[in-house]
Symmetry: C2
Amino acid sequence: MNFQIHTDHSKCGDCPIRHRAVCAHCDQDELEALEEIKYYRSFEAGQTIIWSGDQMSFVGSMVSGIASLTQTMEDGRTQMVGLLLPSDFVGRPGRDFAPYDVVATTDIVMCCFRKKPFEELMAHTPHIAQRLLQMTLDELDAAREWMLVLGRKTAREKIASLLSIIARRDASLTKGGMSGPMVFDLPLTREAMADYLGLTLETVSRQMSALKRDGVILLEGKRHVTIPDMGRLMEEAGDDTDGGFLV
Amino acid sequence: MNFQIHTDHSKCGDCPIRHRAVCAHCDQDELEALEEIKYYRSFEAGQTIIWSGDQMSFVGSMVSGIASLTQTMEDGRTQMVGLLLPSDFVGRPGRDFAPYDVVATTDIVMCCFRKKPFEELMAHTPHIAQRLLQMTLDELDAAREWMLVLGRKTAREKIASLLSIIARRDASLTKGGMSGPMVFDLPLTREAMADYLGLTLETVSRQMSALKRDGVILLEGKRHVTIPDMGRLMEEAGDDTDGGFLV
DNA sequence: CGGATGCCTTGACCGAGATCAAGTGGATGA
DNA sequence: TCATCCACTTGATCTCGGTCAAGGCATCCG
């Protein structure tokens, strides 16, 4: 097996995603109960964590790295339907089979719980269920936002939308904040971007070049992006430019 | 005001959506608590029930009729991001402002709860919170399914996908079942279908004509649809044809 | 060093679906 | 009975993004 199992090498108190994950609202008792059943697991970039249709034996939280949820048609067309960032929840309590492939985009670490014990714990731990409901509602909002991107935006707007989402999520995880130029590394290949946006990788490449040519973004190498003017990027994305940053 | 407020003219026990709505798992006590705070409200076809950005004062369940969730860009491009059918939940506990327009597609009746009392009730009524979590997870699945349709399917496949979804949901609400030809009335205009599918109404019209010409569907008038062979339609939709009907 | 390999870019061309425009048919109402 | 309106259909043309193809540029490995 090419993954490692760690026994819990870190206390929940020190956990970098402690305040944003499914355990965010837990009190000390609840945290201890979770600590009982949790274990860490690492996956390498490119590895499939869960196969669509497989039995799901665990759920968990993303601790570090990036993973994607993808759907594939018989003829090979694929669509990414979710991007999993640190603190996001993976898996679905109350359902036995995975509806999507979950693939590690970068090396990742997950904090896992066996599904059965987690479900039992959830039944008597309203703080977990409540938090999970909030997170699911947020994901639903994000999915619907994405439906507008997929259904109605042009290729250029799609790219700008993706860049602005990544930039904002990145800013919310690091100290940087949103003032001044934003700098980050794209965690996705051109192909993954295409799968997210319902485009081909050629179109992604062309539009990236166009945004660069027009000064909307700066590119160093293929992945290192600087956004000199976030407002400009948001205009290109076709979004309301008047703030309202909800992450 | 062009809507009517009814005092609760029907007991929850008689409610047609009793077993599928947010109250599905409630026991007698919980049902009585809900009955205390519920009220019915009707809206006419075309009416906007909730405006994006407005304060949400109530949540509720669809009792009859169809409504849609839509997002609109400044230049008028619109994308439908959800289709609300009987038993679906409307509104978002824990959030103050509506993220989308909710528009009545047909005449509808809703079973409403003022948001504040509902949230309080939810805090001590795990059956409601649990059920709402399940329903939200289902909606998330549906949204992700739709992302594949929007991102990767052709116009013809999109139309076939929409027809098969409506046909299946219709079958699950009526006695018909899924054997033999399926017959239903389209609850959406061509324009609404276009907004759902990320197409123009002209393309919707052309593809409907094409599916009719090819014998995949029969049309009587503009709205009355017969599907002689559901398997054929699912093939046209690009879906796995091998069953697995999850509603 | 040289050949692979993976990821990306760029060009030429094509076609699905958008756009623009005209027309149909049924319902409504004066 | 006729004008109007609305939802829809159909045709002609255009265009954005897909497809096919070639090439660039790191990195890896023999």
